[in-house]
Symmetry: D2
Subunit: 307 residues, 4 copies
C-alpha cells in the first residue's frame, strides 16, 4: 500500500445556465462564500471552512454539467512526478499555466476514459476569509444556508469506469473504499479515496460519457441534513431524494438540483476510511440498499438524470 | 510537505488497578467489544467500527497510566524505513517480536524525550467482528454504551514536548495542526496529525515525564456526547468536565475517569485536517479558550490530574 | 374557549395476527416495556416514560386493525359529566366495568360516526416501572430500540369525519389544531388536540369506516428518528416513508408497518399547541405539502393501506 | 384534580440598564423579533413561533430585574372568575386597564408573598408575524441567533415560596411537578405547571424577596443548545453554566447573562407533564443533581446572583 500525494478534490468547475440564479443557489442556499465574479465571467466560491481561495467555479454556458474536477497534490515536485507517471502510462497531459484561474498555479490536465477532464495542481492562494488561525473562533461569521463545510466530492457517470478507476488507483494512488459488482464481477460503481474520506470521487457505469451525477458538500450533522431539507422545502428547490442514508459510505444525505439541473448532495457522517481497510463490496441485487439504505431501492430520476 | 507512512494510532496499552472493573467500564460504558482476556492476563478490546483486532489493551498493575502508544504504518517496508530514520537520528529502537500481543506483527519501540514509550508496527490481524464488508449493514449489532466508534488519540504530558514533537514531525512525518505558545514563543501544547484528524497525538508541557492526560474515543455526534453525559451521570462515573467544546480542534467533548483514575474523553465533530493547512496558534493567555471554548478557563483537576 | 377535562389518549387496543411477533416488534423495536401477557391472551405494554400501567394493548385476531382508542379524563366526576354530555347529544354509551383490562377502572364506551370505538376512563393503576419520582434518574434503564417515550396519538380513517370531529370538539372539548379542506370547504383531514400536543387524534376522510391509518409514538429528537430509520433498515422492517417532516404539525417522522400490517409512526418535534391558537388550514391542492413537507406529494401506499 | 383556566406564561416585563444593548441581545442573540419600541420607551419582542403580539417587554431602568410576570387565561369570564377567587382568598387585586401595553386587554395584577408582581389577562392581539396559518411553511424566515421558539418560564426567588406556590396551586389551579425539600420537609424549590410543560413557573427559597433568577426560552433540540453555546462563546456573552442537563424537568440547558446582568436560560427537551403525574421529589442533599444532573453540584454564582 503506497500513500498518495494527492491531498483532496480541490475544486470543481460546473456549467450553469444562469449565473445569477446559480450564485444565489450556491451562496445563499448551500452557504458558500462568493469570492468574486472574475472578469472572464466565472464565479468563484468557497465554503467557510476551506483554507484555499476557491473550491467551486461556476461558468455560464448553454448546457449544464461539469467542465473539470481538480485535485490538489502535496507539492510541485509531487505534481511533476504524477504528471510523469501519467505520461508514462500513455495518457496525454496538458499544462494549464498559472493564472488561468485567479490564484491557482500551473495545472496538469488529462482526460479519463469516461470522458471527464481531470486536473492536478499543487499551488493555490490561501483565502483571507478561510478559517481563523490565531486564537481562532469557530467561524468568522455564523455559517449561512445549509452551512456547507466544504466541497467534498463528485460522482461521475460514464462507460469505462474500470479504466478511469485504474488511473486513480494505479497512477494517482487512490484506494478503493467500495465497489458494486454485477454477478459476472463487472463493477457498476466504484468509490475512490485519496485520504480518510470514504470517497473523494465516485464512478458509476452509464451509457453516456462525461456526465456529472452530483456535486457533494459536507454538513456537520444529521441535524444539519434536516435543516437542509427544511430549506429545500421552504425555498421550493427541486428535491431528488432524502433525508436518507447511504449503505455505501454510510453517509446521511439529501439530493436536490441547482437551478440549472445539476444535482447537488449535502451529506454528513459516514465512516472514516484508511487505505488499509478492506474494500466493501456490494452485489448488484443489493444496489438499492447500497445507495439508499432506508428505501432499499433506486428511483428513476436518480438513475437517469445527469448533466 | 511530505506525506507520512504512519496511518493512525493503532492501539494503546493502559495500566488499570482492577481489570474486572476496567473491563466493565471500557466494554459496557465506553461500548468497546472485549476481544479476549489473554493468557498473559491482558484484556484486549476494540471499537465496533475498527477493522483491526484490537485497539485498547488493559494491563492490571499497581499504578494506572500508559504503557505504550502504538502507531500503525502502511507496510513492513515503511516500518523498516521509519526505524532506519529513527536510528539515524540517534534514537534507540527495540524490536518487539511478532506475537508479543496476539495478532500483532513485529513492532519497533522507542522512547521519546517526554519519557513515553512509542511503537510502530505494520501488521495486525483483522478482526472477524470488524465492520461488515459484503453488502454491509451499519453495524453487526447496535452499538452499546457511549457507542465509541474508534480509539482516536491520546494526550501525553511531559517536559520536553518540543523534543518529542520534533520526532513526530521531522522523522515520522506528522503535521502540526495546532500549537499554544508562551509569550516568549515556547510551546506549551502541540497537536500532531498523521492524516486528516485534527490530532492523532497531543503533547502538553508538564513537570513530570511519561504521564497520560487522557485517552480519547470518537463518537458520532453532539447527540451522542449528550448521551454519554447521561450515562456518566446515571452510572455515577467520575466526571471531569463537559459536555463542552474545544477551541483547539473544535471538537465537542466530555471528560471523565475510568475506575483506575485514567482520564477518558469522548468527543465528536471538530474540523478535518490536511497537512497543507496552516498551523493554528494560540497564545498562552488564551489557553482557557483553546481548551474549553465555552468556559474559557481551565480548572484545577484538568491541569493537575494525570496518570 | 372551554378547557377540556380529557387529559390524553391513554391506551390503544390493536389487533395483531401473531402475538409473539407483535411483542417482539413493539418491545424490541419500538422499545416498549412488556407489562404482562394477561390470562385473557392480551399483551399489555407501556413506554418507559409513561406513569400509567399500560398504553398499548395487543390482541391476537384474524384481522389486524383497531379495537378501541381510549382517553384518560381528569376525574371520575369529569367522567360522569362527559358521559352525560354524550348521552344528552343522543350518543349511546356503554359502561365497561372496572377490571375488564387489568388495572383500569370503569370505562365509558361509545361509537363515533366514522365507526371507531372510543372510550373514556378516569382511573388506571400507576406502573411500578414508571418514571422515577424520588431523586429521579433520567430512566431506570437505558431506553431500548427506537426509544419510544410514549404512545402519542392515532390517525383514524372513515367517511363522516365531520361528525366524529364534532363529538370531540363540541362534547369532549377538544380544539382543532389543523384542518385540510376541499375547494368547496369540506374537511378531508382534521387534527384535534385536548392539550398542548399538535394532535391527540386525527381523522382523514376515507371510503371505508372504522379504519386505522397509524399508531404513533413520540421520540426525543430528529437524531432518534434517524436511529429509528437505521433500525428499520437493519431489521428489515417494512418502511412506508421517511425520515421526513410533516407540514401539518411540523413533526419529523418515519412510517413503517408492524408485522401484522398496522402502520406505525415514530415522530419528534413539531410545535406545541394551545387551544387559543388559530386553526391552521390547508387547501386540498397542498395536501402533499401538508402531509410530507419535503416530498410535497402523497404516495399510493400512504393513501390506500389502512387496517 | 381540576383543570386550570390559566393557559401559559404570556409575557414578562424585565428591567434592563441599557435598552439598546438589551435589544441587540434579545433580538440578535436570543433571536426574538422586535415588535416595536413604543412611545413609552418600552421595547416589545416576541419569539418567531408565538402567535401573541409580544412575550417579552424590556423597560430601561436603573436596576435590572423583573417588573411583572403575566399569565394568559382562557377567556374574559375565566379572568373574572380567577380574580374573584383571588379576592375571596384575601388577596388584593388591581385592574390594569386595556392599553397600558399595546394590544393587551385588561389585566388583573396582584402581589404574591415572595414579593413578585403577577398578572392575569385574557386578551392580547395576535401578531401579524406569528406562525403562518394558511398552507403554512415552517417559519416565515429562518430563525435567527439561538432560534428561541418561545418565552417559556421564569424562576423567581424569595422567602415565602410556600405561600406563593399555594396561590398558584389552590387558587389558580397549577399542579406541582417537582419539589425539593429539606430533611424537615420544608420546600426549597417548587416547580409549577399550568399545562403540559414540566414548569410554567418555578420558585426557590432565598433570603431576598422579589428576585428574578432567570428568564427561560425554549429551543428545539440539544443541537440548538450546542449552537447557543457556540454563539455565547463567539459573542463573548457571560456564561453561567452549561451545556448541561437538569435532573429536575430533565431539560437540557445553558445559562448566561443579558448585558444588564439578568440571567437567561435556553433549554430543550425534558419531559412533558400531565396534572395527574406524581410530583417528583428531591431531597436537599441531592439538590446538586436536581439542578445540574451532570455536575451534581451547584456553583456559587448560580446560587447567589439574582436580579
Amino acid at each position: 500500500m503506497a500513500m498518495t500525494d494527492v491531498l483532496r478534490p480541490g475544486y470543481l468547475q460546473v456549467r450553469v445556465l444562469d449565473l445569477e440564479e446559480a450564485i444565489v443557489h450556491y451562496r445563499d442556499r448551500i452557504g458558500l462564500d462568493l469570492v468574486e465574479v472574475a472578469p472572464d465571467g466565472r464565479a468563484y466560491l468557497k465554503a467557510y471552512d476551506e483554507f484555499d481561495r476557491h473550491s467551486i467555479v461556476l461558468r455560464q454556458a448553454d448546457e449544464s454539467g461539469l467542465d473539470v474536477v481538480a485535485f490538489k497534490v502535496s507539492s510541485e515536485a509531487a505534481l511533476d512526478a504524477l504528471a510523469g507517471r501519467l505520461r508514462n502510462a500513455g495518457i496525454t497531459t496538458t499544462t494549464i499555466p498559472e493564472g488561468e484561474q485567479p490564484g491557482v498555479g500551473r495545472r496538469i490536465r488529462f482526460r479519463v476514459p469516461t470522458g471527464h477532464q481531470v486536473e492536478l495542481y499543487a499551488t493555490i492562494a490561501l483565502s483571507d476569509q478561510g478559517p481563523m488561525i490565531n486564537n481562532p473562533d469557530l467561524w468568522r461569521t455564523e455559517p449561512r444556508g445549509m452551512r456547507a463545510i466544504r466541497f467534498d466530492h463528485c460522482l461521475l457517470h460514464g462507460q469505462d469506469i474500470d479504466g478511469t478507476a485504474k488511473i486513480f488507483t494505479d497512477i494517482l494512488g487512490f484506494a478503493t473504499s467500495e465497489v458494486a459488482v454485477t454477478p459476472d464481477g463487472q463493477p457498476i460503481a466504484i468509490f475512490l479515496s485519496c485520504g480518510m474520506k470514504a470517497h473523494d470521487i465516485a464512478l458509476v457505469r452509464h451509457h453516456e460519457d462525461g456526465k456529472l451525477h452530483h456535486v457533494s458538500f459536507l454538513l456537520e450533522s444529521w441535524s444539519d441534513i434536516g435543516h437542509a431539507a427544511d430549506l429545500i422545502a421552504q425555498h421550493n428547490m427541486s428535491l431528488d431524494i432524502g433525508p436518507t442514508r447511504h449503505g455505501a459510505t454510510r453517509g446521511q444525505t439529501i439530493y436536490f438540483f441547482d437551478p440549472s439541473g445539476n444535482r447537488n448532495e449535502v451529506f454528513s457522517g459516514g465512516y472514516q476510511f484508511y487505505p488499509d481497510n478492506p474494500t466493501r463490496t456490494w452485489t448488484a441485487d443489493q444496489a438499492g440498499k447500497a445507495i439508499f439504505y432506508y428505501e432499499k431501492k433506486l428511483h428513476e430520476t436518480f438513475l437517469s438524470v445527469v448533466t
